[in-house]
Each structure stands twice: as structure tokens, then as C-alpha cells.
Symmetry: C2
Subunit: 401 residues, 2 copies
Amino acid sequence: MSTEATLRQRLLTPGPTQVPEAVLRELAKPIIHHRTDQFRQIFSQVSQRLRRIFCTQCPVLTICGSGTTAFEAAQVSLISPGQKAVTCASGKFGERWQDVYDVYGIEQVRINAPWGHAIEPERIAQALQQHPDAKVVTVVHSETSTATGCDLKSIAQLVASTDAILIVDGITSVGALPVEMDAWGIDVLVAGSQKALMLPPGLGFVAVGDRARHRLDRSISVHCYNLDLRRWLSSYEKNDVPFTPPISLIRALSVALEMIEREGLQRVWSRTSRLAAGTREGLRVLGLKLISAMPSDSVTGAFYPQTTAGSVDDGTFRAALRQRHGIHIAGGQKGRCGDFAGRIFRVSHMGHISEMDTRAALVAIEAELIAAGHPVKRGTTGKAIERFFNDSVIASHVEEE
Amino acid sequence: MSTEATLRQRLLTPGPTQVPEAVLRELAKPIIHHRTDQFRQIFSQVSQRLRRIFCTQCPVLTICGSGTTAFEAAQVSLISPGQKAVTCASGKFGERWQDVYDVYGIEQVRINAPWGHAIEPERIAQALQQHPDAKVVTVVHSETSTATGCDLKSIAQLVASTDAILIVDGITSVGALPVEMDAWGIDVLVAGSQKALMLPPGLGFVAVGDRARHRLDRSISVHCYNLDLRRWLSSYEKNDVPFTPPISLIRALSVALEMIEREGLQRVWSRTSRLAAGTREGLRVLGLKLISAMPSDSVTGAFYPQTTAGSVDDGTFRAALRQRHGIHIAGGQKGRCGDFAGRIFRVSHMGHISEMDTRAALVAIEAELIAAGHPVKRGTTGKAIERFFNDSVIASHVEEE
């Protein structure tokens, strides 16, 4: 048995995700100043590439901070205290955005669904009919805590026909799932660096569509300095940033985005979807129950099975995966309206992850479930995903012809 | 003449500053997850080292963002809208902190000094006497835009005897100038990663003293989510962070802080002070006028001289330094109450800078000033700093005996 230190490590957590070698090497380059032509060229290229990956012609702002920083900036820049927002939540992150608006004194029409269930577009339509004065709708495209997607295209379409601005948490969707900002009519789309964009954490992104831009120009009373998107937009127009940016991360981002473009965005989406479907199949044959009624393709979550020895201990199970197999996956989280802590595990499909990484994770999961007393035959999941990936390769070849 | 690409590059801008090789190599290590023992060990070590470098026993919070993010967090977490703050400014950054409080609707007693002049402690004492209801005093220890220091020890002492909380912008002082948080009675001390701490930009730091802690516990009505220091403090107590942190930067920070400790904080302060004094001497013999009446030791600024050919063009001059000598220095900035753009240049002494870097910068500055028509003899500054550094070596040896 290998020790953890000598094993090849595979990071399959839903953020941070694996960072490619070429991106790591870029991080190690000597620092350059941000008020130079060299940096401006990199930044301009990064902005262009981001627009293509967000599927938009509109500005995509690169903000120093976490995904939470970027989403809060979008939230607070597009509504004034006392105004009304429709806020959707069916997991920890949707709940966080509700908490943010609570802090800012925004009146909320809350649409909450049980953890593991998607927000139904009809409920948003109803809320907007009942509250035509709502200024903003917030929705999470891929709720990481419950590995759940939603019908974002329909939601975007219906919000676009109202006066409300749609702010989408695409933190674990942009670069992983099909999400077409302009074609679908999304007003604001937020992402983070440490998910499908294959970078370490430290950057957030806010794409600002025309309707949102118009709202910003009409000068909402924003009560933040650093998070006021107008400040970032006006710098963006000069190919600049308002404050000293994380230069190393932005350089590395340029390399990561180039990798995505070289593979092709559509192919990245297909690969992610294929890994997710393979994982669902691999877990299904192990007799596990998914945590989501509408699984997102960026991350898959499953409940621990009841075993002959009782229940699987989350800490022990994931430590064994790390120590014996070099496999890092996530456990469950706890929120206001749900609690998956200790009850589930989650495997990410975002970014720099191959079929081999996914197979390795499933085979290791099977081995440690068996060790914990789960009654399946060794090799069950391996055979199933072997078959699945072979079949789907053929299927995708056929499609291309 | 070498081309820019083949020249050894020396970054002497007051942020970002040079990042040591060992720190760059750490940035290139494979990413790890932040909810692991491995990261918690690194984070705990970083927090300990930060406390030593801030000269405090109190928590030093590591925040994802720029120095501005960190300072805004301190500003907004310690006062409620409608309350009163004494805000000091004598340069672009002091003015920025006044702008931040304007956005938040804080009543301000503004103490402004002309650019290049230090804020006098007496003026703060007077303001606090006239406004005993002031909740907060903000002051910049080293105003980077004007290369100016202040008598922070006296300011801290006098504010400590009132009910106001002192928030210090130590962004270009912590790790460069003597600043002893606990001994001097500073309540809140803010720094950034890309200055004396020798890291790329992307992290801010907020040290929270006991009086500030007490104020936070009494629950000020903070109207921000991400910037609410209570959230960071409560995570800090569990050796954790509230949001996904910039993992790579924090790992690299650990290496940078270890380097500072190996050299010894007092020695780093002495080195910085020596480089600053040498630079002032080197510019003096060139007949240049410093921009500051009370120069900070972290950065030195000088006005361009009038030459036989008229005035020195800032853009041309600094481009020549980069292209012919690999020397990167900063120009002047523009603020609300002052404008040094195009009129000055600034040379940093913070962080990973040697005597040789400083000599190289001064010799190059002399060469390009001569090229621009400034009438000095080639070798003037070289001889002067040679003498200065040799004399001060002897002086410091004598002192040690």
C-alpha cells in the first residue's frame, strides 16, 4: 500500500479543482507591474477570452476576491436598500445570497426549494407577477452544495420579459455546463477562478449585460466602495482595473483560458457532461442514491449507504480515499434549510479532469465502501464505467460523422 | 546596448515588489484543498508569523482581496452609518479612505495636509478634543503616493487615551518600517501582500487589537457581508477562513514570512532604512529635490529637475530605465487634493531588494537624467552611494560591538 506522500494525488473536490502544470508554471514567473504594456496586453487578452467563455459580447469584469466577493458586488450594485428582490435558494449558496441581501436591508421574496430539488421556473414567473416591483432576481445555476442544476434558459427567458435584472451564480457552471449569456438573455453572470476555469482561488468574474449596464448607469445608490461595479466597469473600459490586481493569477488565467479554447468550449462541456454521466452510472451500479433530483453535470453527490456495519463514517471514508488512493473528494455541507454534513460525498467533474481521474475515483470509492461493509462485488463500478465510457465514445463518434 | 528581454529586470516599484525565487516556486506547487489538515497547518503557521511581523499578540486576519479590500473592511466594520470619524489624508491613499467613508455615509472630521507633508499628531489631538464623539481615526503610516511617513507612535498614544479606535493603513509600512502594534497601542493595523511581504498582490491583512475587538463584539451595524470583520474573526478562532481562500498565495506567504524571520525583522527594518537613506543621498548629490518633507523609508520620491532641454518627460525617462537598464520604478499619481503625475518618480525599498538593486537604480537614473540634459558629471551618484554604504556598514558594525 502506498503512503499518501508517494501516491499520485487527484483533486476531485468542487473547488478548488486541479490546476494544470502549464498554469502552475505561469504562476511561478517573475512578477511584473500592472501599469505596463505587458500586463495590459495580457489583461486585454484575458478579457476577450472570458467573453468567449461566458458566451457574451458584454464586459466580463475580473475582480480580486472569491466567488462570494464577485456575487456580492453584483447583488449590491444593482439594487438599493429598501427595494425588492426575488431570491431563489435550494442549498447553501442560494441561502448565502439571501443572507447577503438581509445584511443590506433588501426586501426579499424568497423562493426556497428543498435541498436536492431544482427551483422551478414557474415559481419565479409567479413571484414576478405578484411583485412587479422586484428589481432583481438571484438564482444559482449549479448549486454546488446539493449538486443540483436548474432550467436556467427558461428562467432567463421569463425574467427577460420583465423589468427585473437576473443575477446568476454561475460559479460552478461557467466553463463546465452550457450557459450562453447573450443567447439566453442573462443579465449578470458571476463565476470564480477555482472551478471550471482551472485556476487557484483568488479571482471572481462578473459579466454585465446591457440591461444591467443601463441600470448601473442610472446610478443606483451603492453603499460599498470596492464592490461598486461602476468603478470596475469604468476601469474595464480603459483595459484597466481600479485597484492593484492579483497579477500572477491573471497571467495564469490567460494560460488556463487558452487551454479551454484550444480544447474548444463545446468539447469541454461535452467532456464534463460525459464524466458526470459516467459517475452517475458508476454510483448507480453500487446501489447508491444521488442527492439530487436534477443533477448538475459539474458535481455529483450521493448519500452514504447503510451498510451491514451501520452507516459509513464520512471522515474515515474520505481519509481512506486520500491516504490509500490519493483521491480527494468533498463531503456534505450544512446550511440554514438543509444539512448534508456527514451524510453525503461529492465528486467534481469541473476543469482539468480526465476520464482516468474519474475512473480512479469511482474504483477507490467502491473499494472503501466495501471496506466499510457495503455489500457489492469488487469490480462492479469499474466494469460499468468501462462499458459506459466505451459506449459513449462510440455514440459521440457517430454523432460527429 | 542590451534589449529589455535579455536584461536582468529589477522591480523597484512601491507595489508590486520583487518576489523571491523560493516564493515563486511555492506558487507553482499543485493546489491543495483548504479544508485539510495540510492547509490548516500552513494557515496556522502563517497566522503566527504574521502576528510576529505585526508585533502583536492579537489576531491578524488574512483576507482575500487587495489592500483596499482589507482597509475598507476595517473601516466599515468599526463604525455605523451616521457616526463620526476623524480621517487624515495627505496623499492619494488617505483621500481614498475618505472617499470610502463618504460612500458609507459616515460623518467625517477631515484632517488634510498638503501632499508631501506629514499629518501632525497635534491636529488629531485637537480634532478628538473638539469631537469626543468620534468613533474612529484613520491614518496612513506611510503615504505611498507622496513617499511620506508620520509620527505613528505619538498618534497611537494620543488616540489610545480617547474612546476612538485608531485604524492604521500600514500597507507600505508593515515589514518595512518599525511599527509595533501592541507596544504603541495601535487598534487596527492593515497591510497588503505585494509590498514588504514580498508576495504577488491578492491578499490583505487586518490585525485587530483588543479595543477594536471589543467594539466588534458589541455589534456595530455592519452593512457588508464579505467585509464584515466579525465573520473573519470567528473563522480565525477556528484556524479557518469564511470563504475559499487564495490557497496558493497563502502557501507562498508562509515561505515569504519565513524568509523575513530568518533575516530577522529588525534587520529587515535596518536594511530598508539604509537603502532609503542611501537613495536620498544618491539623489541629493544629483541635485534633485525630494517630494516629501518627512520621507518614509519604504519609498523615496523626487521631483524631475528642470534641464537645459526643458523638463524631463516622465514616460520617456522611465521607458529608458526599463529598456536600457531593466530598472522599473514608479511615476507620480493624481488625487483629489494633489497631482504628482508626470512631475516625480518613486523608488521602492520594500521587501526583496538589495544594496545592488538600489545602486543599479541610482546609476541608471543618473545616466538617463544626463541623457535628458541634466548637468551632472557621470559617476556622481555612484561615488556618493559607494561612500554612503561603506560608511554606514562601518557604523552598523561599530553599533553592534
